[in-house]
Symmetry: D2
Subunit: 340 residues, 4 copies
């Protein structure tokens, strides 16, 4: 951490800063520049963090610059540079294979889910996704079938063998999701719902954490840190589109996040081109691009009849289009030394 003293600071301003740093048990080192003075702060990072804002308001101080990343458990550096593999039942996320999770945006009927599950399994998907609790912008939109949906998903898993991933939005839903499903999805709007992150951490269940639509990479890693800090190492990061000025697509899928997250963290990274673009005809090119950028997996929405879907029809693939996508992905995965 570095404290910058601005033009016009006095010698006693600088001494007060040094005293505050040393009173907290940290070491300081002063570098006098032509127009500014900087004070390097050395020592325990937790102590530095607690001191930071207090230094920022002292007389003569222009800014306080953080040098270290504020996260630990999720960082690649802390993990010895190695990749983590997260297991969801017998499926490994983060290994050599590109894992595809597929299924409908919302669970609507038993038939819809079973039919979709069989189709995506046949095409090569390894997990089944489907929404039981739906976060909707309007209170008047379809909000999900709740526990009934979870039962249907569990039945589809029992028939096809595909582990199930589904979203929970609060502690009460979390209990139900852990009971029926194999992986908890924490949605984009809840990426900074800290009590939910902690609760999910305490379950020990695998968690797929979606990036908030205007979150930075650092904020996403800090959200994952909340889960890991509760002792749960089974976290998969999911890029699902950020909000930008573009209105043609629903969000802007940010594929830069894939190589950046892989550099900064050891956790597996998957990509959701369905939510990320909001348009089914962009799903295939962006899914191909995601694998080429190094993604460990994909989350793809598939619905037997998208025009009758109760939510997000425009972004769901038909089972036929999904099968074509899976073949195209295979060629790309081979080109980057992986397999689907």
């Amino acid at each position: 951490m570095i404290v910058v003293l601005g033009a016009g600071h006095t010698k006693s301003d600088c001494e007060a800063v040094v005293r505050k740093i040393e009173d907290a048990g940290l070491r300081s080192q002063v570098v006098e520049g032509v127009e500014r003075t900087i004070v390097g702060v050395v020592g325990d990072s937790h102590t530095k963090e607690l001191l930071r804002e207090g230094l920022e308001v002292m007389n003569g101080v222009e800014s306080v610059v953080r040098i270290l990343q504020p996260y630990k458990l999720v960082s690649r550096e802390f993990h010895g540079g190695k990749d983590t593999t997260v297991w969801v039942r017998d499926v490994a996320i983060g290994g050599g294979r590109v894992v595809v999770m597929a299924g409908p945006c919302s669970v609507e009927t038993r038939d819809q889910v079973l039919q979709t599950a069989r189709a995506v399994k046949l095409a090569g998907a390894q997990l089944l996704r489907g929404g039981a609790f739906k976060p909707r912008t309007s209170p008047y939109s379809f909000q999900g079938l709740e526990e009934e949906a979870l039962k249907i998903l569990a039945e589809a898993r029992d028939e096809t063998g595909l582990p199930v991933v589904t979203e929970a939005m609060d502690n009460r839903q979390l209990d139900l999701v852990v009971k029926y499903a194999d992986m908890i999805q924490l949605g984009a709007r809840n990426m900074q719902n800290y009590t939910l992150l902690r609760d999910a951490g305490q379950t020990g269940h695998p968690v797929m954490l979606k990036r908030g639509p205007s979150a930075t990479i650092e904020e996403m890693l800090l959200a994952a840190e909340y889960i890991m800090a509760e002792g749960n190492p089974n976290v998969v990061l999911c890029e699902r589109g950020i909000r930008t000025f573009e209105t043609y697509t629903r969000f802007t899928l940010d594929l830069n996040a894939v190589p950046v997250l892989k550099r900064l963290s050891h956790l597996p990274v998957i990509v959701d081109p369905s939510q990320g673009t909001g348009k089914w005809n962009l799903v295939t090119p962006m899914a191909r691009a995601a694998v080429a950028a190094g993604a460990d997996g994909l989350l793809v929405e598939v619905h037997p009849e998208p025009d009758k879907a109760l939510s997000d029809g425009p972004q769901q693939l038909t089972p036929q289009n999904f099968a074509v996508l899976m073949q195209e992905l295979d060629a790309i995965a081979l080109a980057v030394g992986r397999r689907v």
Copy 2:
């Protein structure tokens, strides 16, 4: 609602759209243009909303344009054009007076809170604010004193008579906040936490809803609609800064939201220049500007010793600076025909 059929659509595409609309019990009217055909959809807005995405994926359809605002209870139009006043104990928010809520970002000690409460009361504040549960980006930052903080706030209210507003982040915290405090704050990161919005709606307690840092005005009004749809009309809207590319300030306080929200909704609108700028020396000019723009109130962070604050020190005013602010506000309020 309007369905736009693009270049190259066939007559039977158009007929299928009309059939789908009429099968749902709505009326349609076709307008044939030079290059496009548009189909106006008339009837119950709820039915239209459910049909919207299904129409969007039909053959030949280029887009579906929503004409009506998707919210109702919060809209000025629905409320006969009149303003709503929300009462928090004996304080009216949304009437002729500009209401100032003040107090520390976080409750740290009994002394700190009592001292601040007395000072802000003396300077003219009408509500006491203070955080018991703190949403922090990092799991390693100070997270609040929880129930102990709520007890301290209640004691300060009992001594000064200032009603208390404080944040709840989930249903368990909500029970405690309702027990001890007079107004629930729903924070920016929870603006789209739909189960929390519903739970807060069911309490019937006054709610201050903060705008999410990248939420649009429409999304904010839909969040308020969630609360009101549970039968709770006591909602105050709070602008607290949006995320932009600017890095000099922590957020960009969006004062345009004040006149826009007042036009679209009947609910009171207050402004938080402390969170909104993140710098104490910008609080006063932006507070003045907020009142000039028509705000019904302000939320201002005050701490007896900002350099020792456990959270957000750089944006908190000293009691002395707060007293000066209150005097300056008075002059502005008079200039727009109100009083502080």
Copy 3:
């Protein structure tokens, strides 16, 4: 400037960094932390800037942090903390009075301009604005009357005594604007048109520089630095709305920019609520708020018949509404110790 060496850097990485710094004639000072090493760089800021990116790509280097602001001539610090007043003929911008510039978005006819000029003069405006060259998103929109418009504006000045401000978009237009008008407007889309900034600097004419819709404050100040670096000190900064996610307004007028620019720079700061909001009924509340935030002036679009305007009708005030606005501004200006 500070060079941060990351985890895993070697002693010789650090030595190479120090050598590169000293070879450039700068001094260095090494601070060894627990996990990182930082190297403070002391000396001439221009040399540091040229060295910066070269240091960033060296082995072991994690980042290079700039401590000094990259601008000089525009900075308040460099100017001894005093405000600058820019004179446009006999009108002082940046003194005690709030200066209002008013007139139509585009010059359309002689009558329209003369009628507007008389009306805004009567209501208290001090400069006349009107567009001769119009930057339009579509090549098929009205592009301005060019030199003919400049002649009309000059005639209106000669009759009313109001100095004229109008936009130039390239060097050829600049020659014409300098010939006929009293102040050059550099528009938001040209804020980073560096050859134009230089050309405008060389004229010595007063310049009003509008902030780009997604420019940061620092980028805006660097653009002003381009003009001043050519020897032209007559620069007025204009906040005119930034692009955000909000779609209800055309842009988001950023009033935070007013106190921030006044802190960082000595140049006068004005605000354009017409462009900034795109809606005439938001112009008055935002103009009031701008003055309350400390703006030195306003730019307001006025058109005798907004529904017949060839550009931006929805954001132009009628002369009647403009007169009301001027009265309301007076009350606010008095409340902050100024006059309109």
Copy 4:
């Protein structure tokens, strides 16, 4: 185009709207809804565009919704759905091959350029890029060697046979660029510099138009429309990163733009992962992803000694890394049925 009359409009408001539409020679059709009335406007799109803002300010009108895209010459629909190929000397952009343009950010010395040109030619690049005029945020940064640089580039072309692409920032530079180079680059900051777009259109020379960092897709296509409207069909679109909240990368390369631009327009689309990310170690994964998303080409910065570069060193590849990239691209190109 559709005019929406809001709640509370009167019958005579609607009649006035219809009259204004028909007076302009257009047809109207009224659709009465439950709470709103909409008026469809049919006829010549240019007339509609000129009428649009005038309708927006009429009594009772809530909004005016544009149905047609505002661009024509650049649209795929207008071009019969076929792709365009742009020839730069003997190199075809937009055909079956993925075209790579490579070279240094800035031309610094004759040696640097010749050495780079030979290396990138050997590795398979088809065009040489290099900056002679550099748009820099600060007036104190290196601004380019100007005409001397153009002569060096021309010499490198003569030796290697690689056509040259380089940026012009105003009409004076344009004359020089057309004299020495084979393709004009219009940079991101000039995407809405309308006089420059027109001037470039009039040259007839091939133009590479870079997307502005906060431009929407529609604005980019309108900028290309300006060039084509002057009779120059040789336009290549280049995605080069948009500004988002992320600070780890310099910009956020938006690969969604590739399939979206290919759907909406017939023009070739290339991607610049060097500018788009600002970090050399992200160039390779993002270049792979761009080709997988369907890009027709790439623009890659290559410098023999990035740590000594006078601009943008951190984002330039060494010739060795560039050669590796070219091999990896080949595998991806084959997977999507193309060749590099």
